[in-house]
């Protein structure tokens, strides 16, 4: 099955060249020139990964991310103009799983896409024992996080994967570098902000009081650990 990529980019030349390049890599490509068009395409097509430029006319990339995130856990990579904290963190907060900065090397982007798509698939195949986290139950084999009343907590795939990684070794510290490598496929120089922002987002979903985390705990200077 070929993966279908939604390419959200207002520059028509970049869009065309990237389509050529992605098709060469064996992906199906849908194009959108604006945020509104992207949402329309997303609603109609079976999209496996979204690549969204943050600088768009009209509805910007952040808003587009949030809108897609409201109804879907699809992997999103954002294309930022700069790697400054403001843009990167805002994009990740809006729901993106990873980012690349312009001008990017197509091979690098392809590697990021493969990492996210592979993860999306392995999530579906993983079969680990369920873990209780406070009032919640994590069911890795079903790919769901349930509340005590049986309702589902909506997580993105990256958030879910992060939770699974930490739950695999409860009460043990996992470093940022380890998480970056296992979840995003980055080496030594991965961006620690990716982990921090996703941990923050996850806390708002699993912690009774996200400001005073009891389950997803930061161990200063070392990393994070999960306390069930």
């Amino acid at each position: 099955m070929t993966d279908r990529i939604l390419l959200v980019e207002d520059d028509e030349r970049i869009r065309s060249s990237m389509r050529l390049s992605f098709e060469g890599e064996g992906y199906d490509v849908s194009e959108a020139g604006s945020g509104e068009e992207a949402l329309d395409r997303f609603a109609h097509g079976d999209i496996d990964l979204v690549l969204v430029d943050l600088m768009l006319p009209g509805m910007d990339g952040f808003e587009c991310c949030r809108a897609i995130r409201r109804g879907s856990a699809v992997p999103i990579i954002m294309v930022t103009a700069r790697s400054d904290t403001h843009d990167v963190v805002a994009g990740l907060e809006a729901g993106a799983d990873d980012y690349v900065t312009k001008p990017f090397v197509p091979k690098e982007l392809a590697a990021r896409m493969r990492a996210l798509l592979r993860r999306a698939r392995t999530d579906e195949e993983s079969a680990e024992a369920s873990t209780a986290i406070g009032d919640l139950v994590l069911l890795p084999d079903e790919g769901v996080l349930r509340r005590a009343d049986g309702s589902e907590v909506h997580c993105t795939r990256t958030e879910f994967r992060l939770l699974c990684e930490l739950a695999a070794t409860p009460n043990k510290v996992v470093s940022r570098e380890q998480l970056l490598e296992r979840i995003w496929g980055y080496g030594y120089f991965g961006d620690g902000r990716l982990v921090d922002v996703h941990v923050r987002r996850l806390r708002t979903k699993i912690e009774p009081d996200p400001a005073l985390p009891r389950h997803l705990v930061t161990v200063r200077g070392l990393g994070f650990k999960l306390v069930p």
Partner: protein, 474 residues
Amino acid sequence: MSGAGERPGRLGLRSRLIATFALGALSLSVLMGALVYFTARHTLVVEQQGAALRQAYANAALLRNALAASIPSIDAEVTSLDTGRATASLLNDDGRWFSTSLSISRSSLPTSLRSDVRSGHVSTVTSSQGSSPLLMVGVPIPSVRSSYYFVVDLSDLEHTLRVLLAALAAAAAVTTVLGALVGLIASRRTMRPLTEVSTAAAAIAVGDLTTRLPVDRRDPDLGALSTSFNAMVDQLEERIERDARFTSDVSHELRSPLTTLAASLEVLESARADLPPRADRAVDLMAGDLRRFQRMVADLLEISRLDAGSGDLALDEVVAGELVRQCVAAASRDLPEADRPTVRISPEAEPCLLLVDKRRVERIITNLLENARLYAGGATEVSAEVPADGTTVAITVADAGPGIAPDERTKVFDRFYRGVTSGRRGATDGSGLGLSLVAEHVRRLDGDVRIVDGPDGVGTAFVVTLPISEEATP
């Protein structure tokens, strides 16, 4: 005061102010002193003359009566006269002279005085006999064809005046010193705002464009200075920002076509098998230069971001040995095995903790290796050790190239600086920003970079020192 300021003075403003105040005080006190002195002198002399005249008249009247009565011992009569403070009384009785003093005789009297008196006028004259000044009053006594002379020694008066003069001179000296002191205090007060301006200008010169002077609205002069100074800095800041924004904008604009080019080229590269050999070679050239172009734009963006001060640090505490190994591995990823530098970490440096932005250190080492590749045939060794003082880790990137002359060793960190030897290779190989980015990143990490001779005096060694994290020291 303003006149002195227009001359290109050899003295500083402070010295000029002090000198002006001292001179002012001196001339004022000299003027006042002169006024006091001459007034006092005039008053005292007039008083003395009046007294002498009165006494002379009285004595002359007594002598006239005595002469008229033809007293035989005229000599005794002259001697018995009340002379007060006078030194001598002289009587010329129709050619016969009588004097009460041995030192003052007829010849002591100036001829002008005598002729005046002879012609029937009362006359006064001051003259000096030896060292003592004398006041001489001549009174004619025509009824007995005589004349009387009264001589007063003015030494006391002169002494009084000398003491007065000395006192006035001392007062003038004290006033001058006080004037200089007031000048010193005034100059301090005057200089303080100037010192502030100078400090602010120095801060701006080293790049702190947030420096502004406080505006004192109560002082119209200094307020205006501060306001215009601040306006100048605003202008400067705006211009620098505009330049930085321009660089940033240009680089941003270049990124869109670069993205298109890179993606399209990749399509071409993946279709190499179908390309004729000439086209294949052209794709190679394009790929090579596109990478360089991307590198330049990335460097330009990086430097404009650093200039704007927005490049924030993602600080992590990392182990020095691991950091250096990882950085060298990432930087020489695309190099063939044989071209990769050896890595040597000293046992002391290995476990040191550094609080750094890993990716900035990676940029530093990548740029240094790139620089060595472009100008020195590649780096031979990257080493890390702890220098004697034990507070830093020194990372050395050494090559076996032609070396860098001592006088060029700071210039190579300038933007777009191309050394004498760098002209040899295609002058456009690097972006010309690599080493200036190294310097900038090192500065942000509170470190230092310098160039020394390579090992055994061959080639060049770039030494980057980074502070060991204090938290890490046990």
